[in-house]
Each structure stands twice: as C-alpha cells, then as structure tokens.
Symmetry: D3
Subunit: 239 residues, 6 copies
C-alpha cells in the first residue's frame, strides 16, 4: 500500500526526516511518500501557524497529482486540519497526535506528552480532547525548545528528559513525543527513562496500515461528509 | 471606537448583511467595518471550508491596510480561527459562536443552538467546548438549510421553529442563532417561541465594546503569545 | 438605562465603593443605583453568610420602591442568589462572578480567580461551575485577607500579587478579581503582572448594558419561571 | 441519640408528615424532633423559595433553644442551605437529596429522581452535582404536581408511575422520591414498578445515625469552617 | 440482622481484624460473620490480585452454606467484584471503598484517600469513579507500605500522617482509610490531623444496616439482573 | 510474530471462530494461537461471569506452557481483566473493546457499540471509560440476543441492523461490533448501513502487531508493575 505523509510546514528537511521515521516503521509492502506544502509556515508554532498549515496541507493534498494512495498520515503534532482532510480524501487519515495517544493508552494507565514550546500545550490538549483520547492524558509539558532547534541532539535530549520527569511526576506512565521533529528520540531516551516512549509518526503509519488492511474508511454519514461543491479560492499567494 | 467584522466567506452580500446586523447592535460612537476575505470558500459548511476560511481571514486581517481598529468580531458561527486572530492582532477578538453562548448563559440554565446543516453540529459543539461554554449547551440542532438558502425567509422561519422545538425538548431555555446569516431572525421568531433568542453578531459586537471600554486585551502570557517571526507563505492562489 | 447594583452585605461603605466602580464602567446614558440590603451579614464570607445574603438581597429587591430599572447587577463574588433574582425581577440579572468569567474566557485560554479567604474557594468554584464557565478556570486562589481588610491597599496588593503568581503557575493566562471589594485593584496590579485583570463589577455592568440594549430578558420557559404566588414570610427580624 | 429534622417550609402539616417518616426509619434509641421554620415560604418550589428557605432554616436552627441534639436532617429535596448548616452546627448534617442519592448508588448502576414540578429539575441536578453524586443520576423527571398537591394520593401515585417510567427509559435502575412530601409513597409504588425506591427522609435519618455512631463530624479544616463572628441581621420580618 | 463481611484475601488474621472493626461499628442486634476466601491472593495489591480476589470472593459466597444473612460487606479497598456480588446474592451489598466515600462526602467538600502502595492508586480512583463518587475525591495518596506491613503501628501512623498531609494540600477536608487493614487507625490519627477520618469497614456496616432496615435491595431491572443459568467452572485449583 | 488470542469463556467453538477472525486480519508472518480457558463461564454475560472470566484468563495465561509469544489479544468484549494481564505478561496486551474504540475514533466524530444483551451495556461503558476512549462513544445499544444465540445469522443481522439504527440516531458515525462472537458480521452489514463497522478482534490484532513492531511494551513505572511475589491459589475447582 502507499501512504502519503504530509508535513505541516514548508521545511523540506523536516519532511525528509519525517519520511525516514515513517519508512522505518512501515511494514513490508508499504510505500511512504512525503508531501511538503508548497506554502504555509516554515514551522508550526502557535495557532496562527496551525491554521495556516491546515489550509496549506488541504491545498497540497487537493492539488496533488501523484499516484493514488491508500492512506494519509498527517505529521504535525497538535496541528489543525485532520477533520478537513477526512472530508477531502476517500482514504483513511491518521494524525500523529491522536495516533500516539491511542497507542499510549494501551501501554499504561496515564500518558504524558513532551513537546517543544510551552505555548503549544493548549493546542495539543485541545487536539487530544477532540480526538476523544484526552481523558488519560496526565500532562502536556514543554521543553522550551523551538521546532527548528531540535537539530541539537544533546540539548534536545537533556531538555526532553527534564520535561519527561515533570510528566512522570504528574502521573504519566507512558510518554509521547510531542513533535514530528522529535522522531528518533524515543530510542535514545527510552532506556534512560524506564518508560515506553511513543513516536506519533510511527504510530500513525501503523494505524493507517491497520485501517487500510481492514478495509475501513472515514464515515460519510455525519459530520465528515464530502465537502459540498462550491466556489473556493486557495490563497492570494502573498508572503 | 472602530470594530472590524470579518465574514468567514467570500460572499459580499453576506458581509453586507452581517454588517447591517452589527451596526444595529453597535453603540453610539462605534463604527463597524466589514471585511470580506479575498479568498476562501463562498460559504463555510464543514471542516475543509472552516480551515480554509480560518487561513483566509487571518491573511485578510494580516494584509488589511485600512484605518486602525479597536476590536475584531469574527462572524463565522462554529468556524475556526479565533485563537489565531487573537495571536495576530493587538486588540480584543470576539467570535460570534462564543459570544452568543456567553450571553445565553445569562438568560437561562441551558441554551440550545439552531444551525444550518446537521453536519455543522460537530464543529459548533467543539467550538463551544473549547471556548469554555459547552457545559450549559443542551443541544445543537440543524435545520437542514444551507447557508446560501437562508434568503428564503418563510422557509427559514419554519425550519428554524421546528428545530427550536427540538432544542427546547432537550432542555434549552434560551436559543442561539447558529449562523451569521440568520441575523434578523431573532425578532421574527422570538415571540412565536416564547424564548429569548440570541444573535451572535450582536452579542459579539456588545462584548467587543465591553472589552474595549474596559481596556482589556488578549493575554500574551501563555498560549496566545504573538506569532514567532518566521517565513510564511499565504496560499498558492489556485482555485 | 438604569442599573440597580445590589451589594451582598449591609456595609454601606462597600456599596458606595461598588457603585463607584460600576459608574466608572457604565456607558453614557446609564444610571447606576446602589442597593444595600436592610438586613443580612456585614460581609459575606462562607456559606452561612452567603445564604443569608441571598435571602436579604431578594427581600431588598422585592420591597424596593424606587424608580423602575432595566437590569440588576449582583455584586457579591461567589455568593448565592442569582437564580432567585432571575425568577423575581422582569429585567436581566448579571452576577459579578459569572460576568468576570465570561469576559475572562475571551482574553485567554484559561483564567484564574484571586479571592479573599481560602474558605471562599469552594463557593466560587461551585458558582462558576453552575454558571457554565467553570471549564476554563485554572485555579481559585485565596489571599488570606478578609473582605473588610481590603482597605489596606499596600497589603492587599502584595497579597494579591502573591496569589496571582500561584494562579499563573496553575495555567491562568487571565486573572479575575474575586471580590467586589477589590474593584480598582486591576489598574494597579495589571501592569506589574503582565496579565489582563478582569473586575467583575465592571464586567457585569457591561454585560447588563449589552442584554438591555439587545432587548434580551431571562427565559421564563423552564427553571427560571416567575415564583408561584404563595404565602412567604421574610425573616423574623432577630439579630 | 436525638435528631432534629428541619422542614424547608412553614407548613406544619408537612413537618408532621416528615417527622412520621423519619420516626418510622429511626433506630431504637433515636429521638426525632421536627422543626418548622418560623418564617420562609409555605412550600419551596423554585430558586427564590429555596434561598428564602435556606436562610429561614439557618435562622431557626440558630435560635433553637430546645435540648441538645446529635445530628440535623434537612428535609427539603433539592433545596439550598446544607453547607451553611454544616458551618453553623457542631453535629453532622445530612440533606435528604444527597442521602437518597448516596443510598441509591448502592442499589443499581444508575438512579433517577421523580420530583414535583419540572421547574425543580435544575435545582435538584445542581444539588446532586455539588454533593458529588451526580455522575450516576440518569434523569430527574417532574410529575407536574405541586408540593401542596401531594395530598391527593391516587393522582400522585399515577403521576409518579408515569414519571418513573420515563426515568427508567433513561437508564435508571433505582428511583428516588424527589420531594419530602412524597415520603410513604415508596411502599405503594415500589411493587408496581419492580424497582427499589429510596425515600430521602429515611435515608438521611439512617446516614445521620451512622455518622453519629461512628463519631464523625463535619470537617472544620477548609470550606466548612465555623462562621466568622460578625454582625448579622436575620430578616426584616415583612411579608 | 446478620451481616457477612468478606475479606478479599486468604489471610485469616486480616479477616479477624476486619471482623473486629465491623463488630465495633455494628448496631445492637447486628451479628457480623467474617468470610475468608478459600482461595485467592494472601493480600490484594494490584490488578491481577484484584481480579483473582473478585472471583474467589464470588466463589466463596456462592458455596457458603452458613445461616442466611441480610447483607454483604465487601472488605477489600479498591478491589473488584462488587457488581458481581450484587448479581449473585439477593441481599444488599456494600463495598468498603464506596461506603467510605459516601460518608466522607457528607463531612466536607472534598475528601482524600490514604492507601498502601502507590500502585493501588489507579484501582481506587477507578473504583470511586464507577461507584459514582469520584467527583469530590481530591487525591488518592500512597504511604508506600504493603498490606502485610500494616502491623507495625508506629511506622504505619507516621507514613499515614505524611500521606494525609499531601491529601490535605490537594484540597481534602476529610480523609478515608484506603485499606481494610488500616481499621483502627482513625482513632489514633484523627486527633493529630484535625480532620475527620472515615474507616470503610465501619462505614459499610452502617450503610448495610441502613439498607436492610429500609427494606432496600439491589435493583434487578437493568445491569444487575441475576446471573443467567449456565455452565461455569470455578478454578482449576492450581497454585 | 506470535499472538495469543484468549477467549473469555470456555466454549471452544467460539475460540475457533475468534481465531478465524484474528487470522484473517493478521499480517504475513503473524501466527495466531487461540487459548480457551480451562475453567470459567461458558459465555460471559454480566459482571459475575466477567470477574470469573478475568481470573480464568489470568490463570490460563499464567500456566500456559506453549511457545513464547509476542502479544496477547483479549477477546472478550467489555470483559474485565486487561490490567491484570498487563501486569502478568511481559508483552503488549490489547483488549478487543478498547481496540475497536481506538480505531473507530479515527473514522468518525462519534462511534456507537452494538452488543448482545442490554445488561452488558454498563460493563461496556465502564470498560471504554477506563480505557480512556469513552468520550466519543455516542451510545451502547443491545440487540437482545445472548452470546450463544449469535449462530442464527439471519436473526443476528436483523437485530444488529435495528440496534445500529438506534446508535446512529444517537449520533454514531461509526459502529463497533460489541461481541467477539459477532466477528464476520461487519462485512455483511457494513454495506446495508452505509457506516464503517469495526470488529474488535481484527482491530486488536492490528494494534498488537503495531506495538510489537514498534518495540513497545507495557509500562512498569506505575500502576501496572509486575505482580508482587506472594502466595496465591487459583480456584477450588468446584462447579
């Protein structure tokens, strides 16, 4: 099967990084294609970025003319757009935020999320709540690092460990990597922490594969019906 | 004071209608300016439209070069974007969804929302929940009418009354008009129903005036800090 | 329009203080009249006081024979009685507890309340919950000061700032003054804190003006119907 | 031990009825004394009545100069005042609303309340919620009968059975008599319904006996501390 | 009346201890019989133990051929099985977890539970939530002591006091002894703490007596109907 | 990898049926082994059965001496035991109840469960709530059929469709088969309903495969630590 993984920002290096993570999780016979939005923010940090990203990802998928695909993975942690993509495409759609939480619920009684900036906490909490998996989230904790700072591995690990301890003190028995750019970190820090660490990109790939294998698609009977045909313009193209 | 009212879609007639409603609610000394997004959907019905609308409204405000204004009223019922606009502008921002609910809470123990299509129910419920006023919402009920069908007054009134009865049976003591395009209907149907009917556009104008008069602005200390400076592109301009 | 502001206790100095605050928030053309209950507690601190206050305020409004008024503002933070007053009078009723919370929700994702004694916390939490705005309340924090201690401005400010920091640490992005006697404090401490501070008296005046202007009244179709005519005695008049 | 049962209204026949119910539930060695407020409403139906009743009950207990007692049972279903009485007296206080719900939770997964007027529903729901036992309440259903109509046994039974079926359809496995004046009805209707029916007066007497026997008293460490000494006036004595 | 108290583990000394506690709480005319499961864990600490205990207690009651009894008290704090026992026997069933919480709700606005191992916290929280009394639980705090360590009174008291302070800081105004083996501790520590302390065994005995006296039994109309007759085998008898 | 699927009852035909369902969902390279408890109920319908089943499944896994396995799937819809199995085994454990709900959340805004007897509703609701996925469950609806009646395909389909419509009316956009014995039904009824139908057995197999592939295991840092070594007896072996 073919899974399209959409980055939520325009930074191609991050798309590449995400695709690497997705591929290492994908099963045999699964092809992963990355999609970088042609417009939007270079990183998504805050609500303005998130709404801009949501529209850009929708436009990118809408106008994508690659080979057909079987599922979409949306790789923006805590970002908006998933219900819109579910309306748009006819294949299953899995967002990494919800995916990580779904798997984390299977591994412990409460989970915690470690993310980048503190300001993202609200968006992530809202995203988990609306996805229906907020109940067992013990805490969302920021590391203070920006998305584009995650390249510095040593600093990232140290900040992650400090934040993880706060999540554990709040009752988390399982951790979730709260940023697509953290993919890879779970191996490094899992052992030190003695807690399972769930990476949303890998989780979403596995859940997407599961839905495709089971022949399941988004329900059209209710709030996620196909978009009504109408006139829409997708951006003025100004910076 | 000057209030900018943003329509959530590109239909200028609807902007005009909304501005009329806003002006009739505005106090002496309040100037209301309507803003129609240069891009986006011609009506917002569903999540794809809503995310597209959110980005378009943000871009429209971002690039707006009219006279300074004191508050923004966002006139899309149940639509996304309010937190993004709060990050973007330095003046108070009031969304008609939350505004109507805030006032409705003051008039009865439970309120209900009557909206257009059933598919919008989920978005409205989510919007009220995240705004912090979902608890006393007894029901969100659809009339089955599309946004652009609301011109037919007789049909709209009949559908509204039928839906309103369902909301009342679910415990609503107060009704909220669940679409900016319904502005004006409260007068016509209020008497027949024997229930107070709150129009979100008027409610938002009054709340915006209140915040401005009291000198209150969006908190920057937390999730609604100013957007981080970075590279962003606002749309590819394709239909 | 004419707004009657009811103090929740028998201390006339506090009524005067509250009326000053209400007048400075009121719009042009709004007349504010203060009403001090002829009986009740000299300050309301705890549930016994609150229930006594509720009955006294009801009796005071019931027997008030001043000029007609257009709205009632109830100036007891966290005190009981608002639903009873809504049953009694035919004009909109706004309680300062809920009013402050409604506006605070528009200014940040979570708000906190700073009040007088720790023992009032429970009443305030209950009041916010039942008003339908408890969800986004991050914390209610006491300063340790009694209502009648608030005259000492320096001590009050210091205690307020300390309590406010605890609320911010709990996630509050906006603060609410949790006592009618704190009116005026928002100007002094707002700058130091870097957070918006909402005064309930001013908030309630603006919300009352909004409801009156919009022609909205309490719903009679449900739990807030007019009191059934019957024999009632209002107190034995013993100290 | 001696239990004082406070009626919430001034109707002495109802006090007598309640005392009969309380005595038939009381254990050997328990003396039950009824207390009719010297002022207040002749029946409590709605919030105004409820707040008036709360103050009257507090005043009645405050000025009561009978023999010492070991517990107070407050016999007003859904009425206010229990936290105030807990502050006032040094003995355990049990309200019939919460008492019935506590026992009902032990008899089935969800319970329902059948009350008098529909307008009382809100007060009862709020009372259960704040008492901490609202979660397992499936429904509060009104019979349409006023408190003082309950004398007509045949009509009351028929209305109760009809309301009880609505509660059962909503998931109630256990029923609660939602009015002190319904005491006695549980025997008559229990068999017909095939559901356990809990009478709040009897439940409160048993819970009060339990607390007294166990030597438990209201916590003073927090929101229910003794009232602060201060000047209070209890009513102007006007009708 | 005769009350059967079931220990949740196979340690007869603990049954004896529990029976002592139950008897000291029981009213005149109440006979208390202890029942030690013939199989199961020697102490219940964690979910595996709890499920094993639930089946063992059910089997023990199912095959018990002593004199008839009027109620069952289940003396395993936070352990599973209560709904199963309610299906099985025709008399009222009260679990000490819920019993303690029900009474605690009558004594303060929030209560806290002090238990043995931290790992039991989750089970206790779940048990309270499903019993319908989780709302007013401020915290469940572990002492770090195992069930079978509770014999060391001095150490137990010290650990209890330390844990109790954490519960109080979290808002608890009342404490619950979170282990049947703690019975007796309430007298010793109640004074030092200045908080009421509720013992679940005593609470359950009083609630069982109340239900029996009131003639109330478990509802059969819904989820707690009698078990369907069918083939069942109760264990393979292996260690 | 090797997945052990545990039936919750002693009916080997049902184990065979479940294994068939599991195998048809399993990926290449996944071996599925069924495990029928040596003791317990012949079908699990109600709480007594469920607790008996939980202990029997734990004992069966505890004493199982087959080849090593990589994950456990627990095939009892709404049955107890999952946390106990998580403590017991060192590999991931997925219960079909939670598994179906996790995937259903990805396919629509609200899901509904169609189960066998109405009496199972409570157990299923509790199971979903504690698994952290109860929020988006719109309804659990019974068909009135017993577990062992499911062999009659025509009757089962008709009853399922009728129940499914009730779930849809309650807001469900996705359906979950609420009994392991319903596996296979999703193909037959999915088309007629126009809604996605999720089978818990298949869902759990895919989630187990995902966790194993990702190298994730149950957290030992908290409530799901390994059982403490102690003396335990597993049943008296009486019928």
């Amino acid at each position: 099967m073919r899974i399209v993984v959409t980055n939520c920002n325009t930074t191609q290096e991050m798309t590449a990084e995400i695709v690497r993570g997705a591929r290492s999780a994908a099963g045999q016979g699964t092809t992963v294609t990355g999609l970088t939005p042609a417009w939007g923010p270079e990183s998504a940090e805050g609500w303005l970025d998130s709404y801009l990203s949501a529209a850009a990802v929708l436009d990118t998928l809408r106008t994508h003319d690659g080979p057909p695909y079987d599922a979409v993975v949306m790789a923006g942690f805590g970002e908006h757009g998933r219900e819109g993509v579910r309306e748009l495409v006819d294949v299953p759609v899995v967002d990494i935020t919800e995916a990580a939480a779904h798997l984390a619920c299977l591994l412990g009684r409460r989970y915690g999320v470690v993310t980048t900036l503190e300001r993202s906490r609200g968006q992530i909490e809202d995203s988990l709540e609306l996805a229906g998996v907020g109940r067992n989230c013990a805490a969302v904790v920021g590391t203070g690092l920006g998305v584009l700072d995650l390249g510095d591995t040593g600093r990232t690990q140290a900040a992650f460990l400090a934040a993880a301890e706060r999540a554990r003190d709040a009752g988390a028995e399982v951790l979730v990597l709260g940023c697509a750019g953290m993919t890879g970190l779970q191996r490094a820090v899992g052992e030190k922490l003695g807690l399972p660490v769930v990476d949303g990109v890998a989780a979403a790939v596995k859940l997407a594969e599961a839905l495709v294998t089971m022949g399941l698609r988004t329900s059209r009977a209710g709030s996620l019906a196909k978009p009504v045909p109408k006139r829409r313009t997708w951006g003025a193209g100004r910076d």
